[in-house]
């Protein structure tokens, strides 16, 4: 009988014993019976709470009567709502008595305190309680002092507009909140009345500036709106949300600049919103205008998108080409007098001095990388990387990435952008300990030799004897190669942190960096010339009061995007630690049992738009383990994992499921040169090529058993595939395919988004290509084939379709004629307010914005 079987038999014995039975299974030998007896003896040790505790429980149950009633599904009228000033004293007394009755406070003292508090509150007014949280008061942005042009910006205080940090250069930390660094209050600013011809700004993150009529740029915190005729721009790792009065929203990403050309609210005529996006990315959710009049226009240097009631994204590339990607509805993309109409699931590319290309179908998703090179495999799907592809963050095989791209007429997927979200933990090691020796190519840390390469990031000023943390990889044979060596901190100075952000403001004693206030003292080392907008790497220590004191502030390289800090958990899933919002994904390692108010250490990556993705959220165990890594079990008789020999003894916890060739997470401490394993558990990795990809296409044929798509795919209906909407020929669909941890890919969902006006004919069969597509092929996306009625090549004609001038294939003309379209461009409207413009409006400003260095 192996351990699993014995464990099961023992459980049966223990369960029987707890019921007072003696139902011993036949396989229960002497050892099992002895263990069962021991278990029974343990069960007999139960301590009982005393009378005082039982009475305290009754008081708690009384105090929480309303909570219990709500949980039982009944509302009680006795909701504990804060009595307002002037309300009856009796009500206040009852409420406060109920509050204190839940505590083990002697009755006499409790009554005295209650009376004292009532007396005080009667003078100043009663606070809220129960479901009402008291919000920290933050100053109205209009009350904030606006720095004069050219003045050194001063950091923003949290409590009141006139409170300045009191830190002196050489010593005391900021008097911030005890549990978190001082945060910028802009995202929680009190609402301010927005003028009718202005756009409200929400969720300001990092550097966001407005250029007024006088040409000066000022921080968006000075006023939370932008008027027609003004520009708004964002810095690195920054973003903002523009909310229009009709409900439309534009989310602006990092390094973007947008001019608000025109704002015409619906009350004065047809709703008109006209923007020019000079650079960067934005995401638009457009509210449908009343009576379908009005328009929403986004111009770029290489094209214009016009939308009515839709959701789409606009990305202006560094080469000033513009991608318009549609989530809902339709967008007409025009340039140089030519237009195309893109619908949900499609994207259209418009280049400088060229007519827009025909729309292509999009593909996007997230997943594990299993192959790189000319063709990447992400979430089990192949993506061709071509000359215009952007790869961000240097992802490697095993890492988790997001991918956006398009599909050509042959069904080939092209990756337009691949972004690293989380690195794989496999063969990555974290080691903490003292520096024993420093050499040119290797250091000795906690008795272990750690190889140093030219790429190793070593914090400045480290010396023998310093406590450090090392993050690196385990190479063949168990060699450790360091990627980062950072000062760990100590019990006096506090835990170390590392933070990448954008400089928003700076003073002698405190800087605001990506909405976090960083304190400086006389020992803080900084690079010269780090103006607002610079992306910097800050290293320092989290002080006892929770404030962050910098040891160094340096300009960050484009590859430096990691962060690490210690703080208290404010919210779980979605996570907020020390006031900083974090994203998680299947690779995020979260220690068991972490909940609100717990002190944790967070490690992760910051993305270009400022999003912080957590790679690990762990207990902040200062006296804890010295190493942790994920590797493959090579031997178990004398333990070896990924080339590292482990010392395993009776105290080592080895989880069931650990086996040779399996992936495990090992944690432990170093004793001399020995890696003493304290725990070995199966690693929670996402798996071979796991992830989900969503691809858009058009249904060409449907029957009871199958759905055929324009890209050549044929899906089997039923099974685990969920159908949303009516599948019929011409339906534009989103197909979601997911790969599980075993590497199996399944279509999990097909969703109907819209229908094309002219259903495409079935795609003629193509020859299967024998070679891998060349990655240097031109980036022009190939549109799906137009419907043809014969063998002659299809020409193009200009027609007026639903009041809009568009170009279509001549072969598509019969279908359009049948629905009432007319040949030739649409007539010029007499009343401009009733119809959107048909010609490309010229931008009103010079196209090249200058960036602040």
């Amino acid at each position: 009988m192996n351990d699993h079987e014995r464990a099961r038999a023992l459980s049966v014995l223990l369960d029987a014993a707890s019921c007072g039975q003696d139902g011993a299974p036949p396989e229960a030998d002497g050892e099992l019976r002895a263990l069962a007896a021991l278990g029974s003896a343990l069960g007999d040790l139960r301590a009982e709470p005393g009378a005082a505790q039982r009475a305290a429980l009754e008081r708690m149950l009384q105090a929480h009567r309303a909570d219990i009633a709500r949980a039982a599904g009944r509302r009680e009228a006795t909701r504990r709502e804060a009595p307002r000033p002037g309300a009856s004293m009796a009500g206040a007394l009852a409420g406060l008595r109920a509050w204190f009755s839940g505590w083990r406070l002697p009755a006499a003292v409790g009554a005295l305190v209650v009376m004292l508090i009532i007396a005080v509150l009667a003078l100043v007014g009663l606070p809220g309680r129960g479901g009402q949280e008291t919000m920290a008061r933050v100053p109205s942005p209009t009350a904030m002092p606006v720095p004069a042009a050219g003045a050194t910006p001063t950091p923003r205080a949290v409590d009141g507009p006139t409170q300045e940090p009191t830190i002196e250069p050489s010593e005391t930390p900021l008097a911030g909140p005890a549990t978190r660094p001082t945060l910028s209050p802009t995202s929680t600013a009190t609402p301010v009345a927005i003028p009718p011809s202005a756009v409200a700004l929400h969720h300001v993150r990092g550097i966001v500036e407005i250029q007024g009529a006088d040409g000066r740029w000022e921080p968006a915190g000075a006023r939370p709106f932008v008027r027609a005729g003004e520009d708004i721009r964002t810095g690195a790792l920054s973003g903002v949300e523009m909310a229009f009065d009709d409900g439309s929203v534009a989310r602006v990403g990092a390094d973007a600049q947008i001019t608000v050309d025109r704002l015409q609210p619906a009350e004065t005529g047809a709703r008109a919103i006209e923007l020019t996006q000079w650079q960067g990315e934005s995401e638009h959710t457009v509210a449908r205008a009343e009576d379908n009049h009005g328009w929403y226009v986004v111009r770029t240097p290489s094209g214009t998108g016009t939308a009515v009631g839709t959701a789409f994204q606009v990305r202006v590339t560094p080469a000033l080409a513009s991608w318009f990607s549609i989530d809902e509805g339709t967008v007409r993309v025009s340039n140089l007098g030519s237009s195309v109409v893109a619908t949900a699931g499609q994207a259209a590319l418009s280049r400088m001095a060229e007519a827009p290309g025909q729309p292509v179908y999009r593909v996007r998703g997230e997943g594990e990388v299993t192959e790189t090179g000319p063709v990447w495999r992400i979430a089990g799907q192949a993506f061709v990387v071509y000359e215009a592809s952007t790869v961000v963050g240097d992802p490697q095989v095993g890492d988790w990435v997001s991918v956006e791209g398009h599909v050509d007429g042959s069904g080939t997927r092209y990756a337009d952008r691949i972004v690293l979200l989380t690195r794989s933990a496999i063969a990555h090691v974290r080691l903490t300990g003292g520096v024993d020796a420093i050499g040119a190519t290797a250091w000795t840390i906690a008795g272990q030799q750690v190889t140093i390469t030219p790429e190793t990031d070593i914090e400045e000023g480290l010396q023998v004897g310093d406590a450090v943390s090392v993050d690196g990889t385990i190479e063949a044979g168990g060699t450790l190669v360091a990627e980062h060596i950072l000062y760990r901190g100590d019990s006096v100075l506090g835990e170390a942190f590392s933070y990448v952000g954008v400089v928003q403001s700076a003073s002698k004693s405190a800087w605001m960096i990506s909405d976090v206030q960083i304190a400086l003292n006389g020992e803080t080392a900084t690079d010269v010339d780090l103006p607002a907008g610079s992306v910097v790497l800050v290293r320092g220590n989290v002080l006892e009061d929770g404030s962050w004191l910098a040891r160094s502030i340096r300009r960050a390289s484009s590859q430096q995007r990691t962060f690490e800090f210690v703080g208290e958990v404010e919210q779980v899933d979605p996570w907020t630690v020390a006031g900083i919002d974090l994203r998680t994904d299947p690779y995020t390692v979260v220690d068991e049992g972490i909940g609100e108010d717990d002190r944790v250490r967070v490690q992760g990556l910051v993305l270009d738009d400022g999003t912080r993705v957590a790679e690990a959220i762990k207990w902040d165990d200062r006296d804890g383990l010295a190493f942790a890594f994920v590797g493959t079990v090579e031997r178990m008789d004398s333990w070896q994992v990924s080339g590292i020999a482990l010392a395993v003894d009776d105290d080592t916890e080895i989880d069931p499921g650990v086996d040779v060739d399996g992936l495990v997470r090992v944690t432990g401490h170093l004793a001399g040169t020995e890696w003493v394993a304290e725990r070995i558990e199966p690693a929670m990795e996402a798996g071979e090529g796991a992830g989900c990809i969503r691809q858009y296409s058009v249904v060409t044929k449907v029957d009871a058993g199958q759905v055929a798509l324009l890209d050549g795919a044929t899906l089997t209906r039923g099974g685990t595939m969920v159908e949303e909407g009516t599948l019929e020929r011409g339906a534009v669909v989103e197909v979601e395919a997911c790969t599980d941890r075993s590497g199996s890919t399944h279509v999990v969902r097909i969703t109907v988004l819209s229908h094309v006006d002219v259903p495409p004919l079935e795609r003629p069969p193509l020859e299967v290509p024998t070679d891998t597509p060349s990655p240097v092929a031109g980036p022009s996306p190939v549109a799906p084939p137009s419907p043809t009625t014969g063998d002659e090549p299809a020409g193009k004609v200009t027609i007026c379709h639903n009041g809009q001038t568009i170009e279509i294939s001549t072969d598509a003309w019969p279908a359009h004629e049948a629905i009432g379209d007319t040949m030739g461009p649409c007539p010029e409207p007499d009343d401009r307010s009733a119809n959107p413009p048909t010609k490309e409006p010229k931008p009103t400003k010079a196209p090249k914005p200058t960036k602040t260095k």
Partner: protein
């Protein structure tokens, strides 16, 4: 702009679901608290060497559970699992916060006095107390995870399945842990007696 499909961490570690018993009345909820109060206290008392601290932590656990009753859905799981999840999290937090060792210095005198067994003599009570102290002292030498599982099993009186839900483990893993922990405890007791 890049859009990220954020998958909740709970989906990475899927938790087993167990059919609940349906909506509870006010009195049923109150009875559950009364029923589990001793179990929570015993769970905490096993781990702490001080009566007063155990009382305080137990009260904190129950107070938090009552204030978060809105998160309890009887349709989705047993009350015991929900309550001991809170207890476990608060215990872990307590340990991390105060850097307590798990080894006990047990004083069960109060417990024995509160519940004297009329069938036993005072001498037998003293012997029982000594044995209790010895057993719990040895319990404190076990690795943390084994202590936690044994405490939930014998003090909290949770089933293996409930323990698996609380600790987000596989049920089979829990049973193996119990086997190994009891073996180690037995060995430790034998070594103690031999001295």
């Amino acid at each position: 702009m890049v859009q990220y499909t954020r998958k909740p961490v709970s989906e990475v570690r899927p938790r087993g679901k167990r059919a609940g018993t349906g909506p509870l009345s006010v009195s049923e909820i109150e009875e559950l608290f009364r029923e589990y109060h001793p179990k929570v206290y015993a769970y905490v008392r096993y781990r702490l060497g001080d009566d007063q601290e155990a009382e305080d932590l137990t009260a904190d656990i129950l107070e938090r559970a009552l204030s978060r009753l809105a998160t309890y859905d009887a349709q989705k799981g047993a009350f015991s699992t929900w309550l001991f999840s809170i207890a476990h999290n608060m215990w872990v937090n307590y340990v991390k916060k105060w850097k307590r060792q798990s080894a006990l210095q047990v004083d069960y005198t109060a417990a024995v006095e509160n519940h004297p067994d009329p069938k036993t003599s005072p001498e037998q009570d003293v012997l029982r107390q000594e044995q209790t102290e010895q057993m719990l002292s040895c319990l404190g030498t076990l690795p943390e995870r084994q202590q936690e599982i044994l405490t939930l099993r014998f003090a909290g009186q949770l089933s293996n399945r409930e323990i698996a839900h609380v600790l987000d483990m596989n049920e089979r893993t829990v049973s193996v842990y119990i086997l190994r922990a009891l073996r180690k405890l037995r060995q430790q007791l034998a070594e103690d007696e031999a001295r």
